[in-house]
């Protein structure tokens, strides 16, 4: 009996709740919002306590990213970029560096520029660009996210680039099991050099200051240094195989206990859906019983929550940089 009375009190307009479902009272709504915030705070603080049960499940294939990238380029009338093992080595080094130093940025906290990984891997670039992604569930959504961002799309659809290198690295980032995609684009000096010697490559401070997802066009320095115009030696088969073994190239399916995104979205969808049902029930009963009360418009609240529901449904996990 008590349970039924409680349910009526919270879900149906009744004299006990001043003819408005208690769940729809401002105080109840604010309590629900506070509980959701507390839940988010818990998710945020959980990794800091040493309990590592959060993570993002993903199924990322390097081949798929290359294929999708070239598909986008073909649609734009551009020539495909070729998979370059040196660039992939650079991408893997960048991904590992982010996990080791626990950062999510183009420039490392110690000031290491993304272009350093290119040169360290033996890739002497003329043009270079970097796209980063994390927490995506598959390659397709990651590429689509890059395409939706003007700066990242510029990298994907740049005619300057001839090579692509991809690394998918999985590890602990800020206490959360994360999958990072590092996509590097480049064109080697050997591919663009004229027969005559040209200036030494180098990043100017201006380029270094704005390296985010941009293509640093190499600017000749004031005192050019002659460099040989010979092409970069092709990697040996052994080196390529070692690269393939070292990189988690085919696909990754990490074991994940709790996905912060999916958990948050699931709870949110339930809360919004349930509140909408209670609102509809409340509105129908008030309308049928012709109850006069001081309250907001049910239709307005329903529309607002409907929009919140729609937004919650279209949001996808994944960040790009």
């Amino acid at each position: 009996m008590f349970v039924i009375e409680t349910l009526i009190h919270y879900l149906i307009p009744h004299p006990s709740n001043n003819h408005k479902a208690k769940l729809l009272h401002s105080s109840s709504l604010l309590i629900i919002a506070s509980l959701l915030l507390f839940f988010q705070l818990t998710l945020y603080l959980l990794p800091k306590t040493g309990i590592k049960i959060l993570g993002y499940a993903s199924r990322i294939s390097v081949d798929e990213i290359v294929r999708l990238t070239n598909e986008k380029r073909a649609q734009a009338g551009l020539s495909p970029v070729e998979f370059n093992p040196s660039l992939s080595t650079a991408a893997k080094a960048k991904g590992d560096d982010m996990l080791a130093k626990d950062y999510w940025a183009h420039v490392a906290p110690d000031g290491t520029q993304p272009w350093k990984f290119f040169t360290d891997a033996g890739y002497k670039y003329r043009y270079a660009g970097e796209n980063l992604a994390r927490d995506f569930s598959d390659a397709s959504t990651a590429v689509e996210a890059w395409m939706a961002s003007p700066t990242h799309r510029d990298n994907v659809l740049s005619s300057k680039y001839k090579d692509i290198g991809i690394a998918v690295v999985e590890g602990d980032l800020a206490g959360v099991d994360t999958t990072i995609i590092v996509e590097l684009f480049g064109t080697q000096q050997a591919d663009t050099l004229p027969p005559a010697p040209i200036a030494q490559q180098g990043l100017t401070t201006q380029v270094a200051a704005t390296p985010l997802a941009t293509s640093p066009v190499v600017i000749p320095t004031a005192s050019p240094t002659v460099i040989p115009a010979s092409p970069t030696p092709l990697p040996t088969l052994v080196a390529v195989l070692q690269q393939a073994i070292a990189s988690p190239i085919p696909s990754m399916i990490p074991s994940v206990l709790i996905s912060p995104f999916q958990t948050t979205r699931g709870i949110s969808l339930f809360v919004v859906g349930f509140l909408m049902l209670v609102l509809i029930l409340d509105g129908l009963i008030v309308s049928r019983r012709r109850i006069a009360r001081i309250a907001g418009r049910t239709f307005a609240h329903l529309s607002f929550l409907g929009m919140i529901l729609a937004i919650a449904l279209i949001l996808r996990a994944g960040k790009i940089l």
Partner: protein, 86 residues
């Protein structure tokens, strides 16, 4: 329902705000900061709509304003949490 039909321009403007907000989320899916700004704008517009609507109907009370604010805060917290975790 009669009330909605009678004040259709009011509700159409409200739905317009929501449609623009939803499209904003779709278009700027790559910019989470901007999405939060859109969300805040929608929530504020929603509260403003409520105040104007009830003022025109001469049934504007503090409890009603608080109710709109509470719904707006809840909606903001829900979407913000998902965007934050995404």
């Amino acid at each position: 329902m009669k009330h909605i039909v009678k004040h259709l321009p009011h509700y159409l403007s409200l739905l317009g705000i929501f449609v623009v907000g939803f499209l904003g989320f779709l278009i700027f899916s790559y910019d989470k900061g901007f999405q939060i700004a859109i969300l805040a704008s929608i929530a504020i517009s929603y509260v403003a709509w409520g105040i104007i609507h009830h003022h025109i109907h001469k049934d504007l009370y503090l409890a009603v304003v608080i109710e709109y604010i509470a719904v707006a805060i809840l909606g903001f917290v829900i979407v913000f949490s998902i965007v934050f975790q995404g």
